[in-house]
């Protein structure tokens, strides 16, 4: 083979080598990127924090003794529960709340009466529909967290009734 032909062959052999080199570089970059996480999923923690805040905060649903300033966790103030603005003022995410929505169901076990309180009711109803349809993962999905508590109800007549409180919190994924 002539020299020029040899050189040409060598150059031609270099082309696939360079192509493979580029493929390997991209593969390495892809692998590196794959193990780098820039987002942290804290939706369950947010839901738990929201529940605790609604129950334990002085401006939440628990009974507050005005004389001592002490919160009685485990005792729900029925007057506060019936007032829909209690939580809206105590946990305010802005006029258009797209962070959290919740439903509180309080069942008085002695009178069998059901009291329902919504937090961000419009969004709760919308998001609940999507959640039921199975949109739970990825952007545009919604996650639901439910917790149940055995509580007492503080009534205006100072009587304490046994009750159960079910809280369902819905949080969007993005």
């Amino acid at each position: 083979m002539k020299k020029k032909a040899l050189h040409t062959m060598e150059i031609i052999f270099w082309i696939p080598r360079i192509i493979f080199l580029i493929i390997v570089m991209f593969a390495l970059m892809f692998l590196l990127r794959h193990f780098i996480f820039t987002t942290v999923d804290i939706s369950e923690v947010r839901a738990t924090t929201f529940i605790h805040r609604s129950l334990y905060s002085p401006n939440g649903l628990s009974y507050l003794d005005e004389a001592t300033g002490r919160i009685y966790t485990g005792i729900i103030d029925l007057e506060k529960f019936k007032d829909s603005t209690t939580l809206e003022n105590s946990i305010f995410y802005g006029e258009k709340n797209t962070e959290v929505a919740a439903k509180f169901e309080l069942v008085d076990e002695e009178t069998n009466k059901l009291h329902i309180l919504y937090y961000n009711q419009d969004k709760y109803e919308d998001w609940k529909k999507f959640h039921k349809l199975g949109y739970t993962k990825g952007p545009g999905g919604f996650r639901s967290y439910t917790k149940k508590f055995n509580v007492l109800i503080a009534t205006p007549t100072q009587k304490r009734n046994r009750a159960s409180l079910m809280i369902e919190v819905i949080i969007p994924n993005s």
Partner: protein
Amino acid sequence: MIKRGFFCNKRAVINEAYHILIQIFIAISAFWIMQSFIDSVVEDTLFEKEYLSNDLALITEAIYSSPGDIYYEYDNPKANLYTFNFNFREQSVSIKEAGAEKPIAISVAYGEDKNINNELKELIRPQKIFFKKTQTKIIADQHPIDTTKYSDFLCSKINTKKEMSTINIVLYDYQSTSETKAVIQTILKKIQKLLQEKSAKVEILELKDIASKSNDYDMIIGLKIKNQNSNVLSIDYPISHDDFSLRSNNKLSCLLANQIRRLLYPDSLPKVRAIDNIPVDNKYNINLLITLNGKGNEIFNKINSDNNIEILSEKISNSIIKFYQE
């Protein structure tokens, strides 16, 4: 005639040398590209901003949810807080690189409590973030907020109003040593004088004499200075089945605790307790024992220094006067 130039040399080995040079050049280029990529990953602050914004939003929510007052110092050595600026605005925490030409901010929302004044603000390159929440406000700052870590207790609003001229008060010195006796007696005498100026009847008695005297005392207060292994104020009162008595004792204890600790115990929480072995019989409306515990002679020396005997006496008598005014 054969042209001279690259790859046209007669000696094949020099052509090989050119090939090797080109290969080295390609290898160095590939290395430089990979290294630049890794450097960009290392310098990227997206994860830190994402983490810090979520963390601070959750901490703010948790602080709002506390039943009482809270003081919290936030620090994260791995995230280098001083490289970022933090802003708490419009119910969200936003974080961006400090000093960057085109900073990219990451924001995460938190729920604000509209019943509490919001004094969360912008923090520039903080080393730490200090949070403080009381019944009326929440503050975040990059400097320590208060020399007194804890704010005042919220005292009971029970009605204990009475004319001072109708009040009978007994003060006693409990188990003082030869060292502390003189100081305690001085304090008790000053309290007696201040309360007598408000027309109250005040006696200073020995503990053993109190039981033998008339039962018509409205208030019995004992004072003690004690060597302990920590500096802490204790105020004890008897356990009672009478709700009014319990709450009244609690109210006066709270008023005294708020006053005394600012002078002598700014960094510790006082112990206010209902106990079953109070030195004086449990038959009086108000029956308290104030114990000024100190590490070694620390508190004793503090009381003796400056004008603190006067100030302490004033604080105790003002608490008693306030108790009967509300």
